[in-house]
Amino acid sequence: MSKISLTPNASGTGTLTIAAPNTSTDRILTLPDETGTVLSSTSNITSQAMNGPTFRASGSGQSISGGVGNKITNATEVWDTASCYDTSTSRFTPNVAGYYQITVILVLPALSSSSLLINYIYKNGSSYSYFYNTVLSGLTHSVTHTDIVYLNGSTDYVEQYGLPGETKSTTTSIITGSLIRAA
């Protein structure tokens, strides 16, 4: 039979009380089978992860050249909780190191011929990852791409780029990001 040991602290003067709630139901609290500190709702263990930077920005009407990887300008902020998104450069440079879920959406009007549309996530000025669709002429098309990107919390940044098969003005572009795990 395992045992429960209560260990007072010789230096402290306070009294810890285990209090029962007002309930008529029998309950069992099972302690984890490992060494550590049991957390409470006020424990500040993951404040960065739970309250880390997140943003959403969008744009439209940007002329982007066919056959060219165009930096997409998303100058309209919807939210930017940590002021890490720069609308003048359309860059997200978070101030907390960690892993970020980045999503980019690109919508274009119909192309005059069948071609393709590529939607990129750029990290620090270079292609990080992309997704593309082959598109049929005469049809509006869109590409959504999402990936997880590690950003160092100081100098790393992400941007959206898009490569259409022919020169067009964007119908809508969106970039969003959220910290999903602090480093």
């Binding site: 050249s65 056959g67 990887g69 292609s127 992309y130 490569l163």
Partner: protein
């Protein structure tokens, strides 16, 4: 005429696939006012166009 269209006019044998990821040519525009430019030209047989050709 865009840079892509100029290059296609010089080298009609190229197509959009040559300019996509995995292709040998990367054209880029950083929306910084400097326009389209050749970020990478690694085509195995075709020479990078000169400024005069692209003018």
């Amino acid at each position: 005429m865009s840079l892509y269209e100029k290059i296609i006019a010089i080298y009609p044998e190229l197509n959009i696939n040559d300019f996509t990821p995995g292709g040998s040519i990367v054209l880029q525009n950083d929306s910084d006012g400097n326009g389209d430019y050749i970020a990478k030209w690694e085509h195995p047989t075709l020479a990078r166009p000169t400024e005069e050709q692209l003018a």
